[in-house]
Point group: C3
């Protein structure tokens, strides 16, 4: 469960800090944040989407952040904090709350078991946890935090204020910008998958580029972002990458693009700004996706996209017996189309070779 405040904060105090109008007992003490369904009398919750109105009507939350138009749905004893945008308002409270309840951060410094090469440089106020390894020429920015077991290769750079969770590996010469978050187990800068076929064997193409990650980027757990073959692999400022995402060599991703879990991006693909790539989607290599494109989960992008918009390509789910019948017809579609064209000719009197829309 989410952690609670050691000492309650009053609704009045929350309104003083974050704004809104109180309706009800402003001295109600709040110790936790919770969903409408889970909240108890000392929890604050929020109501934004209309589909949660039923839950709101029976919530046991002590207080709820809510828009004026929906305030009436809440039970009588529940304190309302009436605001314009309940979700954004609650998110702001949650960020403050997170600071209060997060586990105490280790004091600045380098744990005795960490191995920092003499030629590495550490910024002011860094926190280097147990069993980290920081190689020669690596630079750790001011206030950066390295969780236990992180390995930072020669010449790699971790930006100011960036937080690496435990067991992150950053290969030589790769860089992560400022104020970033990299979750546990992620690997930045492994060799791109580059081989040339020579007499039935694979000859390795050296991967001489690096990875360059912008500022304010969050990367999930157990991701892999490969170094470039010659140029760098580049992730733009403000990108958000979920867990288990694979980004191949030479990929370039524009600012503020988000990739959901299990996405795979093949080599040299270029993705624009503010795109959203759904979970488990794939993007083939050597193509370009323009800005503001949304790709559905588990869809495969096989050629460049030059028009912003929402794209999909996934077989619909159905009971397996129906799927077997449907899939059998998918195999016969060209034959089926031919027969329709023939029928079309015979039914309408046109020949089968007449111009058609396809």
């Amino acid at each position: 469960m989410a952690r609670s405040l050691a000492a309650a904060v009053s609704v009045a105090e929350l309104v003083r800090r974050f704004g809104g109008e109180v309706s009800g007992a402003a001295d109600r003490g709040i110790r936790g944040l919770a969903t409408l369904h889970s909240a108890g009398p000392s929890d604050l919750s929020f109501l934004s989407a209309a589909k949660y109105r039923a839950e709101a009507a029976v919530t046991r939350a002590g207080a709820v952040v809510v828009a004026a138009a929906q305030a009436d749905v809440l039970p009588p004893g529940c304190v309302r904090i009436v605001v314009g945008d309940p979700y954004a308002h609650f998110a702001a409270i949650a960020r403050w709350f997170a600071e209060q309840v997060s586990p105490a951060v280790a004091p600045a410094g380098v744990h005795a078991s960490a191995c920092v090469a003499p030629g590495a440089s550490l910024g002011d106020g860094v926190r280097i946890a147990a069993h980290c390894v920081i190689d020669d020429g690596a630079r750790i920015g001011d206030g950066a935090v390295l969780g236990a077991g992180c390995v930072i290769g020669p010449g790699a750079v971790i930006g100011a204020g960036t937080v690496l969770a435990p067991n992150v590996t950053v290969y030589h010469d790769c860089s992560v910008g400022a104020r970033g978050i990299v979750h546990a187990g992620t690997v930045i800068g492994a060799d791109g998958f580059g081989f040339a076929r020579e007499q039935g064997r694979w000859a390795k193409i050296p991967q001489l580029g690096a990875v360059r990650i912008g500022d304010d980027v969050e990367i999930g757990a157990n991701c892999t972002i490969d170094r470039g073959a010659l140029d760098d692999t580049v992730i733009g400022d403000g990108c958000k990458i979920d867990n288990l995402v694979q980004i191949a060599h030479n990929v370039r991703i524009g600012e503020h693009t988000a990739l959901a879990g299990c996405v795979g991006v093949a080599g040299s693909a270029v993705i624009g700004r503010r795109c959203m790539i759904g979970g488990s989607a794939g993007i083939l290599g050597h193509l370009e996706i323009c800005d503001d494109v949304v790709i559905s989960a588990m869809s495969l992008v096989t050629r460049s996209i030059t028009t912003p918009g929402f794209y999909s390509g996934v077989y619909p789910l159905m009971p397996n017996a129906d799927w077997e019948r449907s899939a059998a017809v998918v195999r016969q579609l060209p034959a089926l189309r031919r027969r329709i064209r023939q029928l079309d000719g015979s039914a309408t009197g046109r020949g089968r070779d007449s111009p058609t829309e396809d």
Copy 2:
């Protein structure tokens, strides 16, 4: 290869321990377990599925666990252990065998290189391997085993008898139940992928919940199970999760459900009990799957499933040239359907707007 027993065990002894009727030389010595194909004279194998009868007929296994109806297929010199359910019987022998041949476990205790915070609590008989880090307030249950390089965050709980392989990361406040197994590289409790768009940028939504994993759960290697935003992410008792599985924030999975490798489950999805999710399948967020649902490999669940059963949705594989033709027609399907309706009208005399089955 599988390890062998230091000293052979006789077929008679195996029957004494696990039951069954011997037919043949009960003093045959067994030192290893193997498939019908690989087994040699000192190996025990088993025959259950009929499709392995051909291999059984020529097996060199010293002894075979077999049902009475299939015992005749084995070669003359091969000792039979005749039982009702050969697969379950062999599995029981294999579990005993595994205990005999597994590498010696380190003695109970904490390796000198491990860092255990003063405020952490360790149960009786725990084994903490080299370079582990156990933070303040974490609790490790009796008899639990942590492989080398595991990192257990503040307030996290590892249940009694649970085994973590090397390099597992458990974030703060997350819990794993009793008698569990977590394979190497898995990350439990990274932040859920929660962001709100604010003026073209992504603002982080703090992830204040945790992960709560039940008893008798096995989790494969390099999985990621994110902490909840407000409520916890919950994995029920007895669930089995294969490698490289992604489970997003707020997901709830019922007891004894199995997820095969590379599955991705998006945020706030609820999966019932005893479900089986095929490899690389995807489950979108904010939907519900009832108990006893089976999803085919690489299928995407896009809406709630309320009826138990077997569901599929995957494009059939075909030679690439055929696929190009088939996929071209898939793009034209709506036009094709229109044309069929028109033909239907002209061929049958009904107008195109007459009621149809679709």
Copy 3:
């Protein structure tokens, strides 16, 4: 960016080492390798595919490796190294270059923080980085390199000259051949996903086999290769495996096969030699793929393939509104086919039960 040579090498020297004919200033000094687009006056680049001719025409590269037929496209001042196969030639130069610019390797030896069991054996010239753990009976071949935080289980074998990046886990009794590369976070030898249903619960089937990886194999970051149930999981010589690939228990992969990122191979699948499996593709269990098969990205192999060739099965991507219409028809395909058969009968005078091609 790619690292540069400390001291420039002349084009003449490169030709002396690697061959080719110089056209232009043979004393041009080269310090880096780059793409045609990124190269500057002290960089060497190459032109192979015709689609890069436009970039070649305006490149600022100091020198370019090029075929005679394309040499004219380059700008006047650019030095040409004219060769038969520019890509292979450049790759050879790049391999030499990589040796010159790679970060200094740690001297041979075992870092003081590594834990090597007394019963482990280390070959000549091994490099064991900080915080590695090498268990009893493990053997590390001559000249092998273990990055920081690697964990090598009891009885595991790392071949001569093989390089493990940081945080790799190899379970007990598994082996990696000679001259291999395993990237960070990869897990070799976790338990296969083997359970038997017993009264609504999952009973674990012990995984007694191991993993056996051939020589000259490269494995990407955060992969998972499970140990076999009885037999070993086997990866043939010369295989190349990209990041986040899942290989289940008992799988056997033939020599020189390549698997792109995010591929999942289910249990007991057998893949032939020289196959190429596209990114995010899936291969179901207990089937066989013959030699020289190519599978498209995100396609699912559901039955054995006995003919070499190129196979695909993926829903084409389209604007979401089009996809919704297309997917709706996919659900109705069996009904549509029935209707066409009826029309066929009425239009041609044949009955619906007449023999048809499907």
